[in-house]
Subunit: 313 residues, 2 copies
Amino acid sequence: MNVTQDPHQRHEVKVDLMAVVAAVIDNCPRALTIKQGKALPSGPFELGHRSLQAGLRDWVEQQTGHRLGYIEQLYTFADRDRMADEPERAISISYLGLTRDERKDGQAPRDWRSWYDYFPWEDHRKGPPAILADFILPRLKVWAEGPGEEAGEERYHRIAVAFGLDGRPWNEELVLQRYELLYEAGLVDEALRGRKGSHTPPVPGRSMIADHRRILATGIARLRTKIKYRPVVFELMPPVFTLLQLQRAVEALSGRLVHKQNFRRLIEQQELVEETGETTSETRGRPAKLFRFRPVVLMERTAAGTKLPVIRA
Amino acid sequence: MNVTQDPHQRHEVKVDLMAVVAAVIDNCPRALTIKQGKALPSGPFELGHRSLQAGLRDWVEQQTGHRLGYIEQLYTFADRDRMADEPERAISISYLGLTRDERKDGQAPRDWRSWYDYFPWEDHRKGPPAILADFILPRLKVWAEGPGEEAGEERYHRIAVAFGLDGRPWNEELVLQRYELLYEAGLVDEALRGRKGSHTPPVPGRSMIADHRRILATGIARLRTKIKYRPVVFELMPPVFTLLQLQRAVEALSGRLVHKQNFRRLIEQQELVEETGETTSETRGRPAKLFRFRPVVLMERTAAGTKLPVIRA
DNA sequence: CCAATTATGCTCCGATTGAGCATATCATAT
DNA sequence: ATATGATATGCTCAATCGGAGCATAATTGG
C-alpha cells in the first residue's frame, strides 16, 4: 500500500480475527491458547474465508485442532500498538466461543489454560485472593496518589469501584476495568514493554503477546455477565450432568461461590433442566440425579433469561 | 487491489463506520438520519482518522452537524450485500451513540426520525399495535407453513417467541429477532430488492438503504437491554428534569408503559437522582420537583446497575 | 455399625415488586 | 370563589423472590 499521506485518502486495512474460546475443565475455567499460553488463536481475514465467523473458525481449528460451536462477537478495535506511528493499520475483530473439551484419544492435546493463571486476582471462590491485599491494592494506592494528570480522588474512586473497597461489593463482572487499571498503573507486564528504565516488577499473573490478555479479560467479563441472564452455560456442559457439576461450572466462571440449595431451587423453578431418570455415584456421598437441558430451552435460548444466584457480600 | 485469487492471500479491506445516534425528543425515541431518513450517518475509515471512534465522530458531525457524546460499539459485520460475489469486501463497524438534541437557534435542523417510523410494531405504549394482529402475524403464519427447508414447527416457534404468542410475554428487547424474521419471511422492503417477480407488498414501516435498518434494530435492541441494568438514560436527559419526564423517556425507549408510583420508588431508592430544590409548572397539574442525576452515579456508571421496571404482561 | 460425605427437601425472614388507594397542589373553566 | 381536571406524591397490601440455615436421605470407607 503506497498511499500518499493525504488525510482524506480512503485506505484499506488488514483485518485480524481472534478468539477467546472458553471451557470448564476440572472445575476450572479455561481458555484455548497457542504459543505456550502466550497468545489466543488468531489469524488474518483472508480472501478464501466465506465470512468473518468462518474465517475465525478456520484459524482456531487450524491452530488448535478444536472445532468451534457457539460463538459471538466480542469487540472490534484498532490495534493500539500500531496506532501511534504507522499509517498502515490493522483491525482486530474478536469473538467469544463456548465449548467443551471433546478431545478424542489420539488427538493432540489442546493448550487449555486457566483464566486465573492470567488473572489470579479474579478467583474469589476461596475468598478474596491474598495477592489483592498484599500486592495489588497497596501498589494501586501508590499509583493513585502518585504523579499524573488525574491522580488522587478520581483514581482512587475508580480503584474503589473496580475492586470493591470501602464497603462496596466485589463485582465479578468488572474484569476488564480491573485489568485496565492495572495496565494504566503500570503494574502488568504488557504496560512495561518498550518502556526504558527500571520498573517495579509486575503484579502476579501470566502475560500474553500484544493485547491478547486484554481481549481475554473482555471475554471473561462478557461471559460472567451473560451467564446471569442467558442460559449459555449449556454450551459448556456435557449433555448430561448433576446439579452440583452445573453449580461448580457456574462458580468456576464467576469466581464466586453459590448457595447450594438456592442454586438448585433456582435452576428447577426456571425449568431449565429435566431429570434423565439416571443417577450417578461417581462421588462419594449419596448418588446424584442426572439432568439434561430441556430441549425447549435450547431453542428459546436467544430469548430466555436465566438468573443465576451469586452470593453477595 | 489486484490480488490473485489465491485463497490464502491475505488481503486488505475497506472499513465503514456507521452510527445509530439516539435521542428522545417530544416523548419519542429518535435516530439521527441522513438522506431523508433513508440512511444512518456513515462513512469510510480514512487515513486521517486518529481512531475508529474519532472517525465515526467526524463523519456524524460532518453529515449531520451533531457532535456526539457517549458512544459504544454495536457490531461489526461484513456487508452481506457484497459478500456473495465480489472479492473486494467491506466491513462495517457500527456504534450506538446517546445524546440530546442540543441544537442552538440558527443551526440547521437535524433529521431526527422516530424509531417507530421504521418499526411501527415496536411501540406498545398504547397496547399492541393493530398492524401486528392485522398484517404481520397472519403473514408470518403463512410463511411459517409455506415452503422452505425449515418451515413448520420450527418457524412457528421462532415467531411465537419473538412476538410473544401463545401466552408468552412480549419481550421488548427482541427487536432484532423480529426484524430478521420479517426479513426472512420476505415481508420487508429490504428483503425484496433485486428479487424478480411480484411479491406481496411489504409490511408497514419505512425502509432504509443497504442494511441500515437492521443496524438500527440492533441499536434499539441494545439500548432497550442496557437501560435496564446500566444508568444510560442520563445521556439522553437534559441536566434537570422531572421524574415524569424521566419516566416518559424510559417508556419511549422501551415502547412500554411503566407504573408511575413504582417507577418513582425505584428511582429514589436507587439513589440515582437528587432534588435540585426547584419545581416546574410547565405542565398543567401540581408542579413537579426537579431532579438531576447524582454526580457519583455519573462517575460509577460503568459499574452501577439500574433496574428499570417495565410492566410485564 | 459408625463417620464422613454428598444430595435433597423444607422453613423462615427480610427485601423487592406489582398494583392500587388516597391526598396534595396546581391551572382553568364556570 | 368554586368546581373540575390534571398531575404529583405518599402510603398500603399482598405476592414473590432471594439469602441463609436446619434437617433428613443415601451413599462409601473403615
